[in-house]
């Protein structure tokens, strides 16, 4: 990471900056909108870096500690860069009872990464999702927006090959 004199970690040269500024000006000074803003900001950058959190704190007039507290409380916010494809294995009860743990173990084995890690090539991040309400198709796995139901240990390789 480059160190620049201003200390913003290169954010001022990031091409996504105008998008960020647009969001921040819409919610300027609106403390109650913190979670909504963090959602939008994460969808721009993929995660919430320190610099981005600082900008949000400034614009919404919220202490940085509070922004950090909210970002770390909710599991959907990530403070680390994510892989291009986020694999979410649902470990809700219905999926668990139908073998989701085995599915998770198999993916760990095939990709060579542990839960919550990102693969070295930056392609996949492996996470556990909470129940997404597709219990009729248990066990369920998501890869970004795609949902796969009735996943079996044997079909995982085929699914991963698509990405």
């Amino acid at each position: 990471m480059t160190t620049s004199a201003c200390g913003c970690g290169g954010l001022h040269t990031d091409p996504r900056l105008p998008e960020l500024e647009a969001v921040l000006s819409e919610f300027k000074g609106n403390r109650g909108a913190l979670i909504q803003v963090l959602h939008k900001v994460q969808s721009i950058f993929g995660y919430l870096s320190d610099e981005v959190q600082e900008r949000v704190a400034e614009a919404l007039d919220v202490p940085l500690s509070e922004v950090y507290g909210v970002a770390t409380f909710y599991s959907l916010f990530s403070l680390k860069p994510q892989g291009q494809y986020k694999i979410g294995v649902c470990l809700g009860t219905a999926c668990y009872v139908r073998g989701a743990q085995q599915v998770l173990n198999e993916i760990e084995k095939q990709l060579g990464i542990k839960l919550n890690d990102t693969s070295d090539d930056g392609k996949f991040t492996l996470e556990v999702t909470r129940c997404i309400g597709a219990c009729g198709l248990a066990p369920v796995m998501t890869i970004n927006e795609d949902v796969y139901g009735r996943v079996e240990v044997g079909t995982i390789a085929e699914i991963l090959k698509k990405y």
Partner: protein, 597 residues
């Protein structure tokens, strides 16, 4: 207006979307157009029909023929054979898992004909994206009636008289809650809908929001009128993007039609509704944590009293109800409190939507009158246990609930009875488990969940659940000790009594419940270092049966750690210490001589 001779409904609930219903629907429409039938036959996309395991699902009316697992090519066949030539496609019909009979129509399927759909009245019937369809089924008539013929107190009296109780799990009298909010002083009041359905295994709120979003909008407007609020929020969990989208669309439609906004139906009542999306925290289903989240803060609960009805959002009186509770409001207004109170049991009025999942034949959503027995639900409506296995337990109330066993099969499913049996109704999630489930592992699973989701604010929950989880992990890891069960029970009592909110107070329930009904399983893990269900990896070992082994040596060749030894035509043996329990030998053996126990 064209009159169609047939309506073809395609379920576009979230489950079916994932099963490919869009391709199926496209194939239907395409084939219908190709055969020139598009002026006679209408294809309608509906919300969740309920049979999530059988998707994609196609229903042909007026016959009521129910087709399941319809792939795009099957869809074309249905058009050619059934819609064009009038011949029902037998091979796509539903087969009853217990009787093995083919069932032709929706009305003949036990899954449907035992249901009484009130909250789900429109889900699976209308296209949720077309407001006119909602209106055609008495949509917004309840709101019109309320605003023109009833006073706020009249509305509250009707809800009280109906006996409706909170469907999110608390089971508190809805009418009373509305009364408290109405009576509380405050410059501004709010109504909130709790759509943070976090219970793993529950998806009824999701289906209602995706399949019938206007029913919630209308009900919230009625509630706002009753309590004196002008602003409402629907808090939807982030894991439900389709629900957020459909609800947002419905709100915009309602606004453009004047069902939301200033001076609704020409009255002096104004109401505005917004959506707030969650960010992945189970605890935000707890009402005070939810309100904190709407305020942009960490979802940490507050002690109650004061209750949200008195001091909620930004310190103002706030009515907060669950999605399913709201879904019952309009029917009560339209058909009357007396009609509603005749359904269900004495203390649990109306119906309940159950989301049945797990080791069960017909997974999906069912709405039945309160008082139905567990047996009727599991074996009647949902077709029993698949793969020839036997019923072991049914978990109700999610991570806050307990399990019901074989001896409870004829018990009534209502609020108070379930609590008396050591469980609770919760949101209505019902996970069925067969004999291949380890109940100690299930207790560990639930506690792992609640421990992870604990907000951390109060010590008993933050630290207590961790200690309990550690004990359970030792037990399932083969290191259980004498005294562990007593320690679990002591911790459980403590945590239940001293936790700040419902999450901590109910986190120990699955442990207590499994201890009560499956104590012997715990003891097998601790004393005999054995997992009777064969689930806990550390307690499971692979053995070769002497009477089945032919000494072919295939197992030894696939073993990654060379743990198997033997001579040709003599029984092979697995060295326990070297075995990593990968199961490769069991998969390879052509004689079924390797078993896991």
């Amino acid at each position: 207006m064209s009159v169609y001779r047939s309506h073809v409904l395609v379920c576009a609930g979230a489950g079916c979307v994932s099963s490919g219903c869009v391709l199926t629907e496209n194939a239907l429409v395409d084939e219908i157009t190709t055969l020139g039938l598009d002026k006679e036959i209408k294809v309608i996309e509906t919300g969740c029909i309920g049979t999530c395991d059988l998707g994609p699902v196609v229903l042909v009316y007026p016959d009521g023929v129910f087709y399941s697992k319809v792939a795009p090519e099957d869809a074309r066949e249905i058009v050619r054979e059934h819609l064009y030539k009038g011949r029902v496609v037998q091979r796509l019909l539903y087969k009853d898992p217990l009787s093995s009979q083919l069932v032709q129509t929706y009305g003949e399927m036990e899954f449907f004909n035992r249901q009484l759909r009130i909250a789900l009245r429109n889900t699976g019937v209308i296209n949720p994206e077309i407001l006119e369809e909602y209106i055609a089924r008495d949509g917004y008539e309840a709101l019109a009636r309320v605003l023109t013929e009833m006073s706020p107190q009249d509305v509250i009296n009707a809800i009280k008289a109906s006996g409706l109780r909170g469907r999110g799990g608390g089971g508190f009298s809805t009418g009373l809650k509305w009364q408290f909010t109405h009576d509380a002083p405050g410059a501004q009041k709010y109504v909130v809908c709790n759509a943070d359905e976090g219970d793993p295994g529950a998806f009824m709120d999701r289906s209602i929001l995706e399949g019938d979003p206007h029913s919630i909008i209308e009900a919230m407007a009625i509630a706002a009128y009753a309590v004196g609020a002008e602003q409402g929020y629907v808090y939807v969990r982030a894991e439900y993007p389709l629900a957020v989208r459909r609800l947002q669309q419905a709100i915009e439609q309602a606004k453009s039609y004047g069902f939301l906004g200033q001076g609704i139906f020409g009255s002096e009542f104004s109401f505005d509704l917004s959506i707030r999306v969650g960010a992945g925290a189970f605890v935000c289903g707890e009402e005070t944590a939810l309100l904190a989240s709407i305020e942009g803060r960490r979802g940490e609960p507050k002690p109650r009293p004061p209750f949200p009805a008195v001091k909620g959002l930004w310190g103002m009186p706030t009515l907060i109800n669950n999605v399913e509770t709201y879904a019952n409001i309009c029917p009560i207004i339209l058909h009357g409190a007396e009609w509603y109170s005749r359904i269900g049991t004495e203390k649990s009025k109306g119906t309940k939507v159950f989301a049945v999942a797990g080791n069960i034949n017909n997974t999906g959503l069912v709405e039945v009158p309160m008082g139905v027995t567990l047996r009727q639900l599991v074996f009647g409506v949902c077709g029993g246990i698949p793969n020839g296995r036997t019923f072991k337990a049914a978990q109700t109330g999610g991570p806050s609930g307990g399990c019901l066993t074989e001896k409870h099969l004829d018990q009534s499913m209502d609020y108070d009875n379930l609590v008396a049996l050591g469980s609770m109704m919760g949101s209505g999630g019902l996970i069925v488990m067969d004999d291949s489930t380890c109940m100690v592992d299930i207790a560990r699973f639930f506690l792992d969940f609640t421990q992870d989701e604990s907000c951390g604010k109060c010590t008993p929950c933050r630290i207590g659940t961790k200690r309990m989880l550690e004990i359970l992990e030792r037990i399932t890891g083969g290191e259980g000790r004498d005294g562990d069960i007593e320690a679990l029970e002591r911790l459980a009592r403590n945590i239940k009594q001293t936790s700040l909110c419902g999450l901590g107070q109910s986190a120990p329930n699955p442990v207590l419940s499994t201890l009560e009904h499956f104590r012997d399983e715990y003891q097998a893990h601790i004393r005999d270092k054995r997992c009777p269900a064969g689930v806990c990896q550390s307690l499971v070992s692979f053995r070769i049966l002497a009477d089945k082994c032919r000494g072919c040596g295939l197992c030894a060749r696939v073993c990654p750690t060379a743990a198997i030894s033997g001579k040709p035509r003599e029984t092979y043996v697995i060295a326990r210490n070297d075995c990593v329990k990968c199961g490769a030998c069991m998969d390879k053996c052509p004689f079924g001589a390797v078993i896991r126990a």
